[in-house]
Point group: C2
């Protein structure tokens, strides 16, 4: 173990554990990630003063608050949540009682998140995949004369053909309409915006004409339309770089949180038109924000690539989604032709084309196909399990040769729905959690390091895993009534664990996790796990044959993989094999904006993807019931969890 300029060694006592940490990291985060408990109740705000630790060698930056008096400070006491690593340091953590070191050793495994998979434009270029769909070409046309009085369009086309081997050119009426004046107002020096054909032998379309040389201002928009959130990115097509980005809640949320309730609204008189209007408004607000912040002229945006689930796309296009929610779950179309973005109300120049990702089925939408394209799964030799986890979980298994996909309804528990103090991943959400194995006192970290307001998805997963490993709850999610802690209590006839006392919170109430909450979380993880297992059964695979797992979705970047495996949300596998893609839908939309190759390949990809309707697959329910335990009825499927729990029982 060594330290360099950026990395320091932090030694924790009495555990005598040495951890490498980057300079500037808060001490409490280092301890949490290592699975070392420090009492901490205020989320990192520094007000509870519980996270006192003592420096024995070396110094911490900061960590001094009014909670510590001069004597404490002189003795090396600091607040772990306010202190940052600045050099090699040895830290002693006060323990309330003599702690058996054996107990310290059976801590849950250290925090382990997935490697984030980034998009690599250079790699795209090297693979010959960077075929920019939009080309802007600057032209200086010879002005017409008596001996050369070709029509304006013919003159433009002749110059384009002279300049490059553009054949099969076609124009739109709006371009022809503007051409005569633009040519003459700019001394016949203009920039033509060309859409390269996706297929060989396709036509090149001239979709815009601008005066002067605007060839360097060539932009695209990528949009992910999610049920809950909508993200947009502005992409510079010359460099492939993202110049601006914005996410907003989908304005449709006030019409219902999930897809089904949106469809119900759409089926009412005027509902579909209203929902379309609202989603377009959200998209327009995102565009407005991006254009304002980047200073880019929206008239230089030529494509708007949109990925979204099947229902969102039908609502956006004002296509009745009623048949999506009823067996046999039939969407309107799997492919949508390119269309004028402004025709559905998107606030874009009239030349801008909207491109929609194709989809597989009513519940495996264009967002998933985009993720498959964005992740590169479709080009991969490795047998990959792709999971996009949200209210609905979509699962794809396969590689470049074949793919199977399915969707299951997990419910909103991991997004904070159906959990009393559940909340979205926002400031004040408890995102990380540990329990003192002796006192059952919690250690919490919140997003933004402020006093807690609730618990977000990754916090819930971690909490469930930690409580199970600490045997505070059993494998059916019931509290161990024998644990002597005031934090484990019965209120309104429901058992619960108090994570933060009223005075430590922002909400003036005790924040607790109840057995009802836990039951909902188990149902959600069981649905997702059952989805994976059922799909694997259908294609005749077992988990050990999976070479790679890709996690996608807003929920996922911060998820502790070992803990997700502990509770049986993910199949147990080597965390090294797991990568996190982030918003796969947005990534795929962005990649399509950058290269025609993806737009060409995607149609073949959708043909390769076999959809399984889990609701029509009898084994899905059996798998679901079997997964209604932590980690699972058959604990042999989770050998690492089994081993840890057995080792813990021995102590």
């Amino acid at each position: 173990m060594s330290s360099d300029n950026k990395t320091c060694t932090v030694t924790f006592l009495p555990h005598d554990r040495k951890i490498l940490a980057e300079k500037g990291t808060s001490l409490i985060r280092v301890a949490m990630d290592a699975g070392i408990h420090i009492n901490a109740s205020c989320g990192g705000e520094g007000v509870c003063g519980k996270c006192r630790i003592q420096t024995e060698n070396g110094e911490l930056a900061d960590g001094i608050t009014e909670r510590l008096d001069a004597e404490d400070i002189a003795k090396g006491y600091r607040l772990a949540c306010r202190a940052q690593i600045s050099e090699d340091v040895t830290i002693r953590i006060p323990v309330e009682s003599t702690v058996d070191s054996a107990i310290l050793d059976v801590k849950p495994p250290p925090r382990c998140t997935a490697a984030v998979q980034h998009m690599d434009i250079n790699s795209l270029k090297e693979q010959g995949l960077f075929l920019n769909p939009i080309k802007k070409t600057y032209l200086e046309l010879p002005p017409p004369s008596v001996s050369d009085n070709l029509p304006d369009v013919g003159r433009l086309i002749r110059s384009l053909r002279d300049k490059a081997d553009w054949h099969k050119l076609e124009l739109t009426i709006p371009v022809i309409r503007r051409l005569p004046d633009i040519l003459r107002n700019n001394d016949f020096k203009v920039t033509a915006t060309l859409v390269r054909p996706v297929r060989d032998n396709g036509k090149t379309r001239i979709i815009n004409i601008q005066g002067g040389d605007t060839s360097s201002e060539n932009y695209a928009i990528a949009i992910d339309v999610g049920t809950t959130t909508v993200y947009g990115q502005l992409i510079d097509l010359s460099t492939g770089k993202v110049l601006g980005e914005k996410g907003l809640f989908n304005g449709q949320i006030s019409y219902g949180e999930d897809i089904i309730s949106r469809i119900v609204v759409a089926e009412k008189q005027g509902g579909l038109e209203k929902l379309q209007q609202v989603i377009i408004q959200t998209i327009n607000e995102i565009l407005e924000d991006i254009f304002t912040n980047t200073g880019v002229d929206r008239n230089n945006v030529s494509t708007i690539t949109i990925a979204g689930n099947t229902t969102m796309m039908q609502l956006m296009l004002a296509i009745n989604p009623a048949h999506i929610r009823r067996s046999p779950y039939v969407p309107a179309s799997s492919l949508y032709p390119p269309f004028q973005a402004s025709s559905i109300g998107i606030n874009a120049n009239e030349h801008a084309i909207a491109l929609l990702y194709p989809l597989i089925s009513s519940y495996v939408g264009g967002d998933i196909v985009a993720g498959i394209m964005g992740s590169g799964l479709y080009r991969s030799e490795e047998l990959t399990l792709y999971m996009d986890i949200g209210t609905n979980a979509e699962i794809v298994i396969g590689n470049k040769d074949w793919m199977a996909c399915a969707a299951c309804s997990a419910g909103p528990a991991f997004e904070g729905g159906g959990v009393e103090f559940g909340m979205r991943a926002a400031k004040g959400a408890i995102e990380d959690f540990l329990i003192d194995p002796v006192t059952y006192e919690p250690m919490i970290i919140t997003i933004g390091n402020v006093r807690p307001k609730g618990i977000c998805g990754s916090g819930l997963i971690t909490m469930l895993a930690v409580m199970y490993e600490m045997q505070i709850i059993d494998s059916s999610g019931k509290f161990n009534r024998e644990k002597g802690s005031e934090r484990i209590r019965k209120r309104n006839d429901v058992w619960e664990y108090v994570i933060a006392w009223q005075e430590e919170t922002q909400i003036d109430r005790d924040i607790a996790l109840t057995e009802v909450d836990i039951d909902n979380l188990i149902r959600a993880k069981a649905a997702i796990y059952s989805g994976c297992m059922t799909l694997m059964d259908e294609v005749g695979l077992s988990i050990d044959m999976i070479e790679h797992i890709t996690l996608a979705g807003g929920f996922g970047s911060y998820i502790d993989l070992e803990k997700a495996m502990t509770i049986g949300l993910l199949p147990e596998t080597d965390p090294e094999r797991v990568t996190y893609l982030g918003n796969g839908s947005l990534l795929g939309a962005r990649m399509s904006s950058l290269t025609n190759r993806i737009r060409k390949d995607v149609v073949e990809v959708t043909k390769k993807m076999t959809n399984f309707e889990l609701s029509e697959t009898p084994s899905y329910m059996d798998n679901y019931v079997a997964a209604m335990f932590i980690p699972h009825t058959e604990v042999d499927k989770f050998p690492r969890v089994k081993e840890r729990m057995e080792s813990r029982k021995k102590n």
Copy 2:
């Protein structure tokens, strides 16, 4: 000479001329067509009473009015304009003085109009040219089930592929939008409207979907947008038949009569938008009339094929036409892509596609190209001279291998402009005319057989030719001041011939033709003739090499060919070689509606057509000046006229 059931022999005395005439024809028309003069001033209304004739053998139907007393009637007197042929009959025409039969013999040649060329759908079919661009296919789709839950679009496409070899199908967003509900509201029994590709290997587009079986209701609209008039036709695509037709004045007329004045208006603030709105309104009024009168549902019209001159098309599409009227006369485009008809305000179903005829140049527009396609010139072996005569005259020379074209501004004289009593071919217009060689009394027939209001184009041509042959005017168009007739007079310092006295007219004024009028007519005919000659010079041809002349244009069906040659409007040729096409633009639009073959061929045809800008060709002005005589400076170019005039001088 024999008569059958439909045809009778009419013998005119004292000429002793026998004429075959169809039963029901008015006697005055028979005489006029034969070049036999009967005094007649009221246009055929029967009020002037001048056209008294006497039946000597046989009987006429009708012809008896209050202008004849019982004694007259008993003697066989009738009014020629009110009498119809019903059996073989001998007629004596009263002559005021003893007429030298030699004079009677040097009458102008009998009326001779061009054979009308009709469109022959069966011939199209036999030639394999009848490839209907729009196919409506009735489908009974299997409803979706759990084992077959293909998206609606995929289901539709699968059925289309099963039913016929439709490959490369594509849909529009509006069709996809309506598909889910239409399928389910009609038990999955629907009719798809398909646009067949123009090119081999092109895509077939599904542009509409309707519940139930509407496959037999498959219609198209053909429109000719002229500067003066707009014509529309409703075509049944199953039979090729025209079900309804309507012509209206172009509403833009109130913004200027000719193309140049429209362009001037369009260049003013808001002018272009206004002119577009007005022409669309005219088109919509025509459609409204046609749909109302035929009872056809406009939602079953899938294509609207439009032909028009370059300026009309740019105005219709709101494309600035300013550069059309300025050298080097550059139009916006020679080809326009198909577009949604409703996008420019045409009151059609949203699926209906507007198809515009391609054009050659600023003054040889899509109307002429349509005529070339409609007339079959582009498939003909015969070297053909195609002339579309209006305010502008467009001329095409060529055959299936090559074509040259040009346009010249004739001015509005033949349409009644710049001629004091000129008028369009409407009720009350003098359309035919003859002069008594001795008394110089006129014989007139008006459109609608009512009292005259003015003179239309064919009337003016005939008048000019007759006056020239009767030596009332000389070859420079000046009146022979020596003729002793009160009808030839000087008024306001201008010589004129009075065709109808005030009391015989509807307008309470003497109707006359003045030297100024004649001068304008000579300028117009000289421009047209010079256009023909210059174009022939440019391509190295002489008139005797022309195998066929095709006349097109609103002006033309009634034109007396010999008289048009007499005044040197048309080159002198065998009238048998001349055919009249009628509205070639509308015919071409109709043919394109019926067959993709034309739509495919037309692009090649436009490439074959070489445009000559006459205004930039020096010899045009020389030819023009040489043509400023009747028939021409070089009378040898008109041997038949020369011969008649010489024979007349001998008498």
